[in-house]
Each structure stands twice: as C-alpha cells, then as structure tokens.
Symmetry: C2
Subunit: 348 residues, 2 copies
C-alpha cells in the first residue's frame, strides 16, 4: 500500500518520532489520571497499561503505541493550534481505547495481549470489567472537568463514539455465531468502521474541537480518521492471514484458524468463485495447519487479498481527500499523514 503524499518514504521515521513525542506529553497526565483511581482498580489499570507486572512491580516494556493520542495532537496542530493545549483529550482517547481492550478481552476470552496475560486472566473477570468501566468514566471526567470551551462537545462526541464502539463489538460477536457465507461484506465493513474507525475518527475530531475548529472541519477530521482507520483494519486483517508471527506475536493464519470473518475472508466468500466455496467449506470445520494454508490460498484465489489491498489504498485516498477539505494546504497536516501512513504500513 502506498500513499499519495510524495514524501511517503520518510513517513515511517517521522511517525515514530511523533509517537515518541506524543508519549512524552501524554504519559505524565495519563499516569496522574490513573493514580486518581481507587486502589485495587488502579493496580489492574497499571498492569493492563504495561506499567507494572502482576505483583505491582514497575516494568519498562511500555504499553501500546499511543497512536490515538498522537492523532489528537497532530489534528490540533493541523488546524493551527498548539498541541500542548490538547493533552487532555489525548489522554481521554487513550483511556477509552484501553477500556475497550479490557472489555473486549473479557468478551473474546483472549488470554494474551501485547505478549502478556490479559488483565482478566491475571485478576479475574470482575476486576477487568470494573476497571474498564472506571477508565471510561475517568476519560469522561477528564474532559468534563476541563475548562476548555470544547469540553462539553468533546464529552458528547467521545460518548457517541463509545456507543458506536459497543455496537461494533456486539456485531463482531454476533457475526462469529453466523454461518460463514451468511455475513455480507457491507455488514463487516460497517462493523469494522464502528470498531476501529470510530475511535480513530473521534481522536482526530477531538483534536479539531480543541483547536476551536468549526463543525465542518471537525466532521472532515472525523472522516479522515475513520477512512484511515478502515485502511488500518484492512491491513491488520491481511497481517492476520499472511503476517509474520515473529513480529505480530500470533501465528500466521491465526485469524483463519479461529474462523474469524475478517474483511478479506468475507470479500473472498462473497466472490461467487470456486475458491469461495472451498473457503466456506473449510470454515465449517476445525482447521489444522494444512487446512489453514489451503484457506489462505483460497482467500487469495477468490480475490480477497487483492480486494483488501485495493480497498485499503482507496480508503487512504479518501482519507486524504477528506483531510484536504479542512486543511487545503496538506503540508500543514504532514503529521496526520505520517501517522495514517504508519498505521496502514505497519508490519507489527
């Protein structure tokens, strides 16, 4: 996947530097917000965020990649304001993201995340649920207590986003219970937009709100983040089938082995080809390693791999188009473009 920006080749280094800067800005505020949580919940949050091991001892491996906070800060800068004024919404989206991870891991019964046991696996389901709830309320609290004029609009938008995230997660679970060829590509695209695009879009929109942008610019930034988020999900789904297990931490074909109805798979199933029938049949039974390889080949022969790659490129093009509505001179938005390209080119 390539991007329309002429300096795409340098985007990777710039994005890494942006993420480092975002972490340096966000980390102290995030730690201080988490420190305000009551004790047993705080400990689960600190474990989940990768700051402590299960005994409460500090660890230095770090947590996630703070992509969403970096998007908030970059969006504020793209709209001509100082990112230092948008640290709070950056912290709020990181809390929101981690709340969804805590609950998703419970819901999906996932035993590992970022190469460590998940919070529910260590502390139990009750602690993981209430810690997620508390982190979500902490995000709303940070924004509501902010004297910034966009405070109320930010809470409203973030709350709408959480409701959409919940709907996406619900759909995802519901799809897993349906027959492989019963789920349509439109349904999966809507689900992926809700589950992944909504929070990336809201991150950009919050950054715009904190730059005191008008409604149209906020909507354009939201659309930029959503389209980039869908591109990200498409690439993530490709990695889930053909990715490098050394880098992803999960075996190649993991999504196929778990019968996941990811975007390339559903596109393949909807292709009306012989390979689609072969794939549907494979998805009706447990798969060993050989069956997983046959399934990956069937997705490719049915056109699922090409479709996902093209769709990701299209979505990125649309993202840039949306962005240019709010920032006609895209050189002012180079940080946003670098981040978007980074997440859609990532191999880990």
């Amino acid at each position: 996947m390539t991007m329309t920006s002429p300096d795409a080749a340098t985007g990777g280094h710039e994005a890494v530097a942006l993420l480092e800067r975002a972490r340096a800005l966000v980390d102290p505020e995030l730690r201080s917000a988490v420190a305000s949580l009551p004790d047993p919940i705080r400990r689960v949050a600190r474990y989940h965020l990768g700051w402590e091991d299960e005994h409460g001892r500090p660890v230095h491996q770090g947590g996630g990649k703070v992509i969403r906070p970096a998007l908030v800060l970059a969006a504020t800068r793209a709209l001509g304001a100082d990112p230092l004024g948008a640290v709070r919404p950056a912290v709020a989206v990181e809390l929101t993201h981690n709340f969804t991870l805590l609950h998703d891991d419970v819901i999906d019964e996932d035993p590992t995340r970022r190469h460590r046991p998940t919070a529910w696996a260590v502390f139990g389901v009750p602690d993981a649920i209430v810690t997620g709830d508390a982190m979500m309320s902490l995000a709303a609290r940070l924004l509501a207590a902010d004297p910034h004029p966009a405070s109320a609009a930010a809470v409203t938008r973030l709350s709408d986003c959480v409701i959409e995230l919940c709907a996406g997660q619900q759909n995802d679970c519901a799809f897993e219970d349906r027959a492989p060829d019963d789920v349509t590509l439109d349904e999966v695209l809507t689900m992926a937009t809700a589950k992944t695009g909504a929070l990336l879009g809201s991150s950009c929109a919050l950054g715009a709100l904190y730059a005191n942008a008008d409604g149209e610019a906020v909507a354009a930034l939201d659309a930029f983040g959503r389209e980039a988020g869908l591109a990200f999900q498409l690439i993530d789904d490709l990695i889930g089938i053909w990715g490098d297990p050394e880098r992803t931490g999960k075996p190649a074909g993991a999504d196929l082995a778990s019968h996941k109805k990811s975007l390339p798979v559903v596109a393949a199933l909807a292709s009306g080809t012989e390979a689609a029938e072969e794939l549907a049949e494979l998805y009706r039974h447990p798969m060993d390693a050989a069956a997983v390889r046959r399934a990956a080949s069937a997705v490719e022969r049915a056109g699922g791999r090409d479709w996902a790659q093209n769709e990701a490129a299209d979505r990125m093009a649309r993202a840039v188009q949306e962005l240019s509505r709010a920032v006609p001179d895209l050189s002012a938005a180079e940080e946003l473009l670098a981040l978007a390209e980074f997440v859609t080119r990532r191999t880990h």
Copy 2:
C-alpha cells in the same frame, strides 16, 4: 426503623405518588434516549429495563422503582427550583443505575433480577457487557449535551460516582474470597457506601446542581443521599436474612446460604461472642436449610440484627441532619424525606 419526621406514618403513600410522578416525567425521556442506541444493544437495554420480553414484544410489568430519578427531582424542588428542569439528570442516574445492574449481574453470575432471567442469561455475556457500557456513555452524553449551566459539573460528579461504584463492586467481590472473620466492619461499611450510597448521594447532588445550588448545598445533599443509602443497604441486608420471600422474590436466608458478608453478618462476626464463633464456623461450609436457620439465629444472638437496625436509624438521623444544613426549613424537603423513609422502610 422509624424516622425523625412527625408525619412518618403518611410517608409511604406520598413516596408512592412521588415515584409515580417521577416515572411519568422520566419515562418518555428515558425511552427516547434508549431509542437512540444502535439496534441489538437497544433491544438488550429494553429487555433489561423491563419494557420488552426476550423476543422484543412489549411487556407491561414495568422496570425498577425509579427511586434515583425521584431523588433527583425531589432534591431540585427542595432547593427551590422546578423539577421539570431536572429530568435529564434524572434519566442519567437511571441509566447509570441500570448500567451497574447489567455489569453486576455478569460479575455475580446472577441468573434472575426482578423475577426474570438477567440480560446476560438471555442474550449472553458479551451483549450484557456492551449494553452496560453503552448505557453509561448515553448517560454522560445526555448530561454533556445539555445546555444547562450545571452540565459539566454533573458529568464530572456522575463520572466520579461511577468510579466509586466500580471500587465498591470490586471490594464486594474481593470480600467474598476472604475468610468470614477476615473482613472488618469498617471495610464493609466503606464498600456499602461506595456501592449503594454513592449513587443515591449523587442523585441528590445532581438535583441540587440543577437547582443552581452552591457547593455547600450540593455537598449536603450528597451526604443526605449517602447516609440514607447506607440506611437502605442495612435494611436490605436485614431483608436478605429475615425478609419475606413472597415479597422479595428470594428465599429467606438467601444471603446466608450464599455466604454473603452483609453488614449484619460482619457486625455479628466482629462481636467477639460465642454466637460469632458459631456463625464463622457455619460460614466455612455449605449450608442446608437447617444450617441457614442456625446462622440467622447466630447473627441475632451475636447482636448483628440489633446493630443493623440501630445503625440504620442513626444513619437516617444523620441524613436528616445533613439535609437541614442545605434546607433549614425541612418542610421544603418533605419529598426527599418521604423517599428516604420509603426506601428504608420497604419490605419488598
């Protein structure tokens, strides 16, 4: 338990009328808020609220008793403002209450609530978790999008309340895993205040905020609700041991059979009496009906029943004292007093 108000005998009728009026005001707004949720989540919410059966057909049995919304409206009136202006926070606290019920039922693996299967038992754990999340965000959204000047303070307070509720629920679960005589009465009182008092206090505080009351009055109303909430929990715990199963929907002694470390039980265990030792021993093993009767008798002989009744009366007295700080002429607060008395005298 009696109350300090001279017209306590008539409080029951007045409270029922207040609850009916609160329901009439809150129901349309609550239904319209829930209607804004995306579809599968909306259906789970409507089931949980008692509006629909598991097939989505309307039912007319009604949901909970809207005590918290009634407290919001009564607090607004007690501080001299029109309750009609406080319908939104009333809806928000009812959404918050129901979000906690949805998650608590998952966490406690409770199969029934209000004489029906719980939402997770009907729709599965994933749907119950995400519906709770969505209802909480809907509550924050309603308040944040409100042009009322207290909007931001209301979101902040409700978010703090949710964090406290989460801590209370976490403590409750953690206590269940500890030895019967290892949990102190102070710990259980703190837990009960967090789990029950916090939201009743916040309901009153939100009503005060929406009456544009000053910080001291808001704090006094919060303290009133917290103390009344603890009185309510003490009475609820007594009902859990000696209540009428016809009215409570659960067998007498249910809390003992499930080894619940309720307030009268922990007070009894902490009494240093022979009956306390007998109770601790009974709590170490599964109990049949005869053992449950012996345990109830031991709680009583150890002084747990009397303590809980006296403590509830004390808490109600303190509640009234707190209230009088904000409303010196208590006749202006007769609705709040009637509601507080109702919840602490209830036998169902």
